[in-house]
């Protein structure tokens, strides 16, 4: 079994009558890239705040490294970027990183390497207050990596960045993941999570809706987009078909959701045999976004999918 980095036991945070995080239990393993997915206000940041020692849990508990390290000792081996970058504005980039090395009790030897990685080495002696937002974000990444962390935690790290900046940072994260660093990425942007994560945890209103691999997010057989010359006979045919669930009309074609495995060859042959002339025929896998909406819209939620 892979080494456990972080384990949550029924972690709960209440703000007055509002339950921000409700009995959340999780296990993060070393070497994986996790996505913490949920709409705004779903409890992602509160969850991260609790494991990062800045928010006190109302009940429940969590442990780093299987309880072998206290939270603040464990955090010295973690890199975290929360919402927006927080640095001392009167210190230069280099001084800020040096201070962080003192706090994390790590060697200052990697400062140059990290500043070069994020393209800020040339500006190392500029005060943080003179940096643009993109530069501040990049410095935050350098700061999170300066201790060669075993786990990198990113919370809505692309907020407020321009497309180029988002692209740069995404490439950076992919390369960090390739080095074997575990990553926990909190985001409400689905394509973000889809592109870099292997595992996903879905939160909504503080409840866990799903935990597992990205592919297994929703056991789906995909759907067909179909259009035919004779709409009425197509609908009659579809309604009688046993492998087909929901049928909805979008623009000029029908979206046909499958309830069991049905290949495109099989289905097109069946349609041909029924004498239907098709004008449009595509098989698609639902995007993470569709699955996500499906998952969070359903009233009942499964605590764990596997």
């Amino acid at each position: 079994m892979p080494e456990t980095l972080l384990q949550l036991h029924a972690l709960t945070k209440k703000y007055g009558s509002l339950t921000a995080v409700n009995e959340l239990s999780l296990r993060l393993e070393k070497g994986k890239v996790y996505g913490l997915l949920g709409p705004n206000g779903s409890g992602k940041s509160t969850t991260l705040g609790m494991v990062l020692n800045v928010v006190n849990p109302s009940s429940g508990s969590f442990e780093w490294y299987g309880g072998t390290k206290t939270t603040h000792q464990a955090l010295k081996h973690i890199g975290a970027i929360i919402e927006r970058p927080n640095f001392y504005p009167y210190l230069t980039a280099f001084q800020n990183l040096k201070l962080i090395c003192q706090i994390k009790q790590c060697s200052a030897a990697h400062i140059q390497e990290q500043l070069e990685l994020v393209g800020l080495w040339a500006r190392k002696d500029s005060k943080f207050s003179t940096y643009s937002l993109g530069m501040k974000q990049r410095l935050a990444i350098a700061a999170a990596l300066v201790n060669q962390p075993e786990l990198l935690i990113l919370d809505e790290h692309t907020n407020g960045l321009d497309p180029e900046g988002i692209h740069q940072i995404r490439a950076l994260i992919t390369s960090i993941a390739a080095r074997g660093t575990s990553i926990l990425l909190a985001s409400h942007l689905l394509d973000e999570v889809e592109k870099v994560c292997t595992d996903v945890i879905v939160l909504k209103n503080g409840n866990k809706y799903y935990e597992g691999s990205v592919d297994g997010l929703n056991p789906s057989f995909g759907y067909f987009e179909i259009a035919a010359q004779s709409e009425s006979s197509l609908v009659t045919f579809l309604e009688q078909h046993t492998s087909i669930g929901e049928i909805s009309k979008k623009k000029e074609c029908f979206h046909v959701l499958l309830t069991e495995e049905l290949s495109a060859e099989q289905f097109s042959q069946q349609l041909q045999e029924a004498g239907l002339l098709l004008t449009h025929f595509v098989k698609k896998q639902p995007s993470l976004e569709d699955q996500f909406l499906l998952l969070t819209q359903s009233e009942k939620h499964a605590t764990t999918a596997h």
Partner: protein
């Protein structure tokens, strides 16, 4: 030591803090130098040193009292250093980076202690120097008597600074914390006035002064009494008008203990605040 280094790194690179710290020490020196000057302005000839303020052991009393007035400089720095941690959100970042809440508080307390020790040492050095130059008595036994004023000075400063630490953690905004400090001083005064007026009616056995000595700022003030009326010159005048001064000028060890208790309380309360608050 690591915690102190972290805190000093933060302070050292902050321009205003640096100016205030330097300003504080320069002011101590310049006051010392100024007071040695002979003022000759027309018919007025005035030389502070001739007034006997630099006589051992009186100088310990005089200097510790006067220089303690400058403590507000460092109070501003303390309040600003906490206020900044909140406004820059670097307190949150420090915790995320792996500093525990206890370590954060300890780094601040260590910085205060370091400053108190340095300041006390300076007062000691300057007093020794000025006394050596101007004192009428230079016998070692007299020079090194009444040194408890230095201890009193250190405790007085430490008590005041821990109060500032607690206030700024409580209020988070530096300007408001300083405002609250002034307000508290006024509050103590008003409560004292009210007690003097009414307390003996309610509880005859208790005098206002007995209760008032437990108030934090008043207790800090009580440790070292004002030294002016002790000056021989003034004493003589009082004698002439038949009003013997028999005030006790020694360090009040009872007040000293009260202030130390307050300090412990302030630090404990600060820790509780840090521990309970979500950031």
């Amino acid at each position: 030591m690591r915690l102190l280094r972290i805190e000093l790194y933060k302070l050292w690179h902050h321009r205003i803090s640096k100016i205030l710290i330097f300003g504080y020490f320069i002011l101590i020196f310049s006051i010392a130098i100024l007071s040695t000057l002979k003022v000759e302005w027309g018919p007025i000839k005035f030389h502070l040193a001739d007034q006997g303020i630099f006589n051992f052991p009186y100088i310990w009393h005089f200097n510790t009292f006067m220089i303690a007035l400058l403590k507000i400089f460092f109070a501003i720095i303390i309040v600003a250093m906490i206020g900044n941690e909140y406004s820059y959100k670097t307190l949150k970042q420090n915790l995320i980076d792996g500093l525990s809440k206890a370590e954060f508080l300890r780094s601040k307390v260590y910085a205060i202690l370091a400053f108190v020790l340095l300041s006390t040492f300076l007062v000691f050095a300057i007093s020794l120097l000025l006394g050596g130059l101007y004192s009428d008595y230079t016998e070692l036994s007299i020079v090194f008597s009444d040194l408890e004023y230095l201890l009193a000075y250190a405790v007085k400063l430490f008590g005041f600074f821990t109060f500032c630490l607690f206030l700024s953690l409580l209020i988070k905004r530096s300007a408001f914390a300083l405002g609250f400090l002034v307000l508290w001083q006024v509050f103590e005064g008003i409560v004292f006035g009210l007690m003097k007026w009414k307390l003996s009616d309610w509880i005859p056995a208790l005098s206002a002064e007995q209760v008032f000595q437990f108030f934090p700022l008043n207790a800090m003030g009580n440790i070292i009494k004002e030294p002016f009326s002790r000056l021989s010159a003034i004493k003589n005048i009082a004698d002439q008008i038949g009003e013997g001064l028999d005030k006790d000028y020694s360090v009040s060890f009872f007040s000293l203990i009260i202030v130390l208790l307050w300090s412990v309380l302030f630090i404990a309360a600060s820790y509780r605040l840090l521990k309970q608050r979500d950031l």
